[in-house]
């Protein structure tokens, strides 16, 4: 029995269906990131889980007990809000103590627990302050502390790092997994930042068009998105997708995304002359200032590159983003380490190549992932 069981949950606003038939089980101590674009229904899901909204159908169980009809106060759910939702007329201490008071715990225990969680979150020195007197980061931590302090069965985090600065976000991204491990809550972490989702979650659930499109470990979902669409959703910058055809030549199986020939023998067993969607993540593309050596028949040789013009270069954190276009008019996004990017001048020519072991193929209609063979000699 999982701590939190979402069972065929459905919600619509009038004629507009938000989602229909969501299923998800979250185990004790597990963190599931619900990831999706804004407007995909993440917030609605949280509202239903926390009891702010009523579902239209399906069931919710916490520790095996159905709570779908229970009011918020009877669900044993803690929540950290995107806007923190601190009580402005109470001190940080009273904010954090509120869930314990709601459970009518003795004052002694309240004080101890608040102190403990505040120490853990490094806000024990500002407990007497009112929310207005706190820095943004302290507010965020106070809100988190309030959600955690009573060790709820289910912990809901509504994009808690959305409204904090980059430095703090980075810090918290490192801290939070540790923090959650110390509690036994089932954690639902809603975010629209794919890196955050991957960094924090034990599993990621991709919510799109009213369904969980894929639920799995972050690496698994990232490397093997079940559809081209999911592949596009998770990852920043998004995966490059090109239509391609398979061809057999010299006993090797080749595909030609964006005009760049890639030898996929061994990785895929596919008929020739099939139409596919090829996906390649920007960080997996190799970029060279000169043309690659002439293709050999050797299946293990590097793929032949394609010439492209670098349109623009955008620094993004420790990596830089290049957008290049081929003569055929394909636009390709490439992500390079900053140092490597510095070598490339805008408007210059470059030769791009797609490594075969990273190339993903999807069915041309429906975009289902065609699972590659497991790497030989694994």
């Amino acid at each position: 029995m999982a701590r939190l069981e979402i069972d065929r949950l459905a919600k619509a606003f009038g004629a507009a269906t938000v989602f229909d038939g969501l299923d998800l089980h979250v185990e004790r101590g597990e963190t599931v990131a619900v990831y999706g674009r804004s407007g995909c229904g993440k917030s609605v899901l949280l509202s239903i889980l926390s009891g702010a909204l009523a579902a239209d159908g399906g069931d919710l169980r916490i520790d095996g007990k159905s709570v779908i009809d229970a009011p918020p106060e009877a669900r044993d759910v803690g929540m950290a809000f995107q806007n923190f939702a601190l009580y402005p007329h109470m001190s940080a201490f009273d904010n954090i103590a509120s869930p314990l008071r709601g459970q009518k715990k003795p004052a002694r225990e309240i004080a101890d627990k608040v102190q403990a969680v505040a120490a853990l979150l490094k806000i024990d020195h500002v407990l007497a302050h009112s929310p207005q007197a706190l820095s943004n980061g302290q507010r965020q931590r106070t809100s988190l502390a309030r959600a955690l302090v009573a060790e709820p069965a289910v912990l809901l985090l509504d994009d808690p790092l959305r409204n904090v600065d980059a430095k703090l976000r980075y810090e918290m991204r490192l801290e939070m997994p540790n923090l959650f491990r110390q509690f036994e809550s089932a954690v639902i972490y809603v975010t629209q930042d794919s890196r955050e989702a991957m960094a924090l979650a034990d599993r990621i659930a991709i919510l799109h068009d009213g369904k969980f499109r894929q639920i799995g470990a972050p690496q698994e979902v990232y490397e093997f998105p079940c559809t081209a669409e999911v592949g596009q959703l998770l990852g920043d910058p998004a995966i490059n997708l090109f239509a391609c055809e398979s061809a057999a030549r010299d006993g090797a199986l080749l595909v030609n995304p964006a005009g760049c020939e890639v030898n996929i023998s061994g990785r895929y067993d596919l008929p020739a002359a099939g139409k596919y969607l090829a996906g390649v993540r920007p960080e997996d593309i190799d970029l060279a200032a000169t043309p690659a050596p002439a293709p050999s028949a050797d299946a293990d040789g590097p793929a032949r590159g394609i010439e492209a013009v670098v349109e623009r270069i955008t620094p993004a954190n420790v990596r830089s983003l290049l957008v290049a276009s081929t003569a055929a008019g394909e636009t390709i996004t490439v992500s390079l380490p900053e140092l490597a990017a510095e070598q490339v001048a805008p408007k210059s020519r470059a030769w791009l190549s797609f490594p075969a072991d990273k190339l993903l193929l999807f069915a041309a209609d429906g975009g289902q992932l065609i699972r590659p063979n497991p790497p030989a000699g694994g």
Partner: protein, 308 residues
């Protein structure tokens, strides 16, 4: 998304929880019923011949009361004087209020002190304000009568003469209610974005152009709301006119509510009084529908709620 969320009940299924809003608004509902019952009674009375001193003549006459009103010269005088009073007061107050709001637009210390001081007449009960003006316009000892006689006008009889009675009550109305226009329009003016004005100033746009093409259009929602609000008050004015002349001299100032009051208390004619008020109600109902529309728009703007 946010506002949609807000508008949903906190939780649905248990009947108890769904009853919460009804439970909370039950007392207000009682007040509503307490208003609607006498209102319905008034509608009913307006269809009756009902003179209290002649109980034996009481009976249903349908629209007879209204037919009688609409063929009565005195009633049309009431309609006319009420509309005239409304047009004069609202019009003059708008012009004055807008001019004064423009004078006070810049938020300086002296302007702020003045704008607070100008609120005072509005806080004086209109009937008390009327008494104050009665003291000042007393033909024998009133300061204004004295000042006006210094100006060479003798025997100016203020509210006591039919020719100047309307002027006198309009003057009191202006004194009391212009501050309403001032503070509403001032709030509007000060809430306008500054960029268009800065840009216009930089470009050297003439100030009349700025006023008519930028200020006025941007201020329109405030002006319309304030005017409709004042119209609703003005067409029902009772306190000032009753306090000053009780509708006199003669029938000069018998506006709707004064007329209804006289019909009820002097003529004991409940039916006719109710019919006069029903006519007024129809007028105010139409105005208030427009008013509420604009008022909601301003309210949404103030509370940052997007118009749904």
């Amino acid at each position: 998304m946010r506002s949609r969320l807000k508008s949903r009940p906190l939780s649905k299924p248990p009947l108890r929880a769904r009853l919460v809003p009804y439970l909370l608004s039950l007392p207000a509902l009682l007040v509503c019923i307490g208003i609607l019952v006498p209102f319905a009674t008034a509608v009913y009375y307006s269809t009756q011949r009902y003179i209290i001193t002649l109980p034996f003549t009481r009976g249903f006459i349908g629209f007879g009361q209204y037919a009688d009103l609409f063929t009565d010269r005195a009633f049309w005088h009431t309609v006319q004087i009420s509309l005239l009073y409304t047009a004069l007061t609202v019009g003059l107050e708008l012009v004055l209020g807008l001019a004064i709001a423009l004078l006070l637009r810049r938020s300086t210390l002296i302007n702020n002190i003045i704008s607070v001081a100008l609120m005072l007449p509005l806080m004086v009960a209109p009937v008390i304000a009327t008494l104050m003006w009665k003291l000042m316009t007393d033909p024998s000892y009133g300061i204004l009568s004295y000042l006006i006689s210094l100006a060479g006008i003798d025997g100016f009889r203020w509210a006591a003469a039919p020719s100047t009675a309307l002027f006198t009550v309009v003057l009191v109305d202006i004194w009391v209610y212009t501050p309403f226009m001032i503070i509403l329009l001032l709030a509007g003016l000060r809430s306008l974005p500054t960029q268009p004005f800065e840009a216009a100033q930089l470009d050297g746009v003439p100030k009349t152009f700025v006023f008519f093409r930028i200020t006025l259009p941007m201020l329109t929602p405030y002006i319309i709301t304030a005017c409709l609000f004042r119209m609703l008050d003005s067409i029902q004015q009772f306190d000032i006119i009753y306090g000053m002349t009780k509708g006199g001299p003669g029938d000069t100032l018998k506006v709707f509510q004064v007329q209804a009051y006289v019909e009820f208390y002097i003529a004991n004619n409940v039916g006719r009084s109710a019919a006069v008020l029903m006519v007024l109600w129809v007028i105010t109902f139409i105005i208030s529908n427009y008013f509420i529309k604009y008022w909601l728009k301003l309210r949404r703007r103030t509370h940052g709620i997007s118009a749904e």
